[in-house]
Amino acid sequence: MSELTLTVMRLGFLAVLWLFVIVAVQVIRSDLFGTRVTQRGSRRNADARPQQAARQPAAPAQQRQRRGAPTKLVVTEGSLNGTTVALQGQTITLGRAHDSTIVLDDDYASSRHARIYPDRDGQWIVEDLGSTNGTYLNRTRLTTPTPVPPGAPIRIGKTVIELRK
């Protein structure tokens, strides 16, 4: 066996061994960064505005979102005061039910009280889900799904939340 072949095999083996390590680390990466929810949300945003994406193909992911769109939901009053939830295109449910995104520990909230979701244009909408005590946006009781301007207080029982940039 020529010296050259053996050298190539020796280095090739080390390369293959490291390739395995790198592939394994890539598999782990999906555990560490980004949940499935995040990926879905951003993909849907991209699909919703194909023409805009086509105009700015090199634009980073955040740029594709509407300028001035709220990025987080903040609880400003109530037992969950201070909690924030990142808005990534997913629907946020509020209520006392255990599977809500934000579980309200509030006697005046219904188990499925309200939900907040983005419409096709990325505008965030709040909808009351037939709650007992109602959902208030800017002190008016909601009857239909209503767009939420950033900073407007949404009151559910003793809890107040708002969307922020």
Binding site: R10, L11, F13, F20, A24, I28, R36, Q90, A109, N133
Partner: protein
């Protein structure tokens, strides 16, 4: 009132089972050892080795059986553990086979080719892995055997001391001989004792964590809570004194301290553990000649080669250590290439305790780093499983098993490289030795079982979580 929502809880959506990722990685993990085998054959004889097909098929068959069983019985298990273990096992087989070909080793009276045996042991290991996955449907049943497993671990650890049963191999008494086979019970004991530690600490952790006095920035536990740690410490010292094995005692005591720390979140346990093990080791080193020779070989291998009395244990230990260091040095950055090194000069235990020196010589620093990363990844997946596990027993159990694995890799690799005194333990999956391979496959099986439970999507919430009615606001 039913509402259709797109998402409920983050992470619960179509949790991927990742079995196909595992299959791909597994194919890769079988291909690499086959390539290594070819490499060794070409380097030694200049032709494709005759056993390559059979060997590759054997490894591939074991890997596919394991994969099918995981697919059936642990659908959501971690996708990395099985390929990583398969790769290490396969490469271990290649390295052992490579040392079998050495004329120098074959000329020795105490050497016998090990590769075929190791393949059989690996198959047994896979069989135990399959058994664990099929029988152990839920790791929490092990919780019932907390105190039984304590007794079982004690028996396993003390078996080598039974006269007529125990065997003394190069000073260390950690083997037993049963009908021609020698078994290292300590390898199995590490799994059994992890059951006891996690069951015990799960119940006692609040007492250990909360009832303490603050002293010089450390939380000191109450005297009566010190009982268990003192017992384990005494046990590990007994092993050190009577079985002459630093590795096993370090493994058990270290494992206990790691689990205590994880269960209680108190740094003081680590400080106390380090002090106690250092104190114990120093005291024992005063009168155990076996330990003394290992320490001498660690501090100055080349010097003690000249000063040690001839034909003593000490000169053997020093000779081995010098050969190992030369081996690592000869490897350099990229190594001499598989089959082209001289690590067989280590002679005694070249294919078991010192197999990592062959990696160092023939694959160089680059290969050693890759191997250490492979071990690191197994440990990382174990800890990750512990983080994801939902029950405290599973958390502690996964931490204990991966901690034992990590300590074992550290003790062996550190010993071989001259970082700590050498101990007679085996590199998991790599070294020749049936007990080690079989026990480590069982360990991987249990980790896969816990990770399956941990990564399985959460069951739907109970139908009526809100028993009390919503109160109505009265204006």
């Amino acid at each position: 009132m039913s509402v259709v929502t797109n998402t409920t809880t983050i992470g619960a959506i179509d949790a991927p089972s990742r079995r196909n990722t595992e299959l791909l990685l597994l194919a890769f993990a079988v291909a690499i050892p086959v390539f290594a085998y070819l490499n060794v054959g070409l380097a030694l004889d200049g032709e494709v080795p005759s056993g390559m097909l059979g060997y590759g098929l054997g490894l591939g068959l074991m890997a596919s059986v394991a994969h099918i069983v995981v697919r059936k019985f642990a659908r959501y298990a971690d996708p990395l553990l099985l390929p990583l273990a398969t790769l290490l096992n396969g490469l271990g087989l290649v390295l052992i086979w490579r040392l079998d070909q050495s004329p120098r080793l074959n000329a020795r009276a105490d050497f016998a080719p090990q590769a075929t045996n190791q393949l059989v042991y690996s198959a047994l290991g896979i069989a135990l892995f399959v058994g664990v996955l099929m029988i152990l449907k839920d790791h929490r049943v092990l919780q019932r055997f907390t105190y039984i497993s304590m007794a079982a671990a004690m028996v396993l650890l003390l078996l080598p001391l039974v006269p007529g049963l125990g065997a003394d191999v190069f000073g260390a008494k950690i083997w037993i001989r049963v009908g021609g086979f020698s078994i290292q019970p300590g390898e199995f004991a590490k799994i059994v004792i992890a059951v006891f530690f996690s069951g015990y600490l799960m119940v006692k952790r609040d007492a250990l964590a909360l009832a303490s006095r603050r002293f010089m920035g450390l939380y000191l536990p109450r005297g009566r809570d010190l009982g268990p740690i003192l017992t384990i410490w005494a046990m590990s010292l007994l092993i050190l004194v009577f079985e002459n094995d630093l590795g096993t005692s370090l493994l058990f005591f270290g494992m206990f301290v790691v689990m205590l720390y994880v269960a209680t979140e108190r740094t003081s346990w680590i400080v106390m553990g380090l002090l106690m093990s250092a104190g114990g080791a120093v005291v024992v080193a005063q009168f155990a000649s076996h330990v003394q020779s290992r320490v001498a070989a660690w501090l100055d291998p080349f010097g003690c080669l000249e000063t040690a009395p001839p034909n003593s244990n000490m000169i053997n230990a020093c000779d081995q250590m010098t050969q190992v260091l030369m081996s690592f040095g000869a490897g350099g950055t990229l190594g001499t290439g598989l089959g082209q090194g001289n690590s067989d000069l280590i002679s005694f235990a070249a294919n078991s305790d010192f197999i990592f020196a062959t990696v160092g010589e023939e694959l160089g620093l680059t290969g050693v780093m890759a191997f250490l990363l492979l071990y690191g990844l197994i440990i990382e997946r174990g800890i990750r499983t512990a983080l994801a596990a939902r029950d405290p027993f599973g958390k502690l159990f996964a931490v204990g098993l991966s901690g034992a694995f990590a300590l074992q890799v550290f003790v062996v690799a550190g010993g071989v490289m001259g970082l700590i005194p050498l101990t007679g333990m085996t590199m998991p999956f790599l070294a020749a030795g049936g007990s080690s391979v079989i026990a480590n496959w069982a360990l991987i099986g249990i980790l896969i079982r816990i990770s399956d439970t941990a990564r399985r999507p959460a069951p739907a919430p109970a139908p009526s979580p809100d028993a009390e009615m919503t109160q109505v606001v009265r204006p």
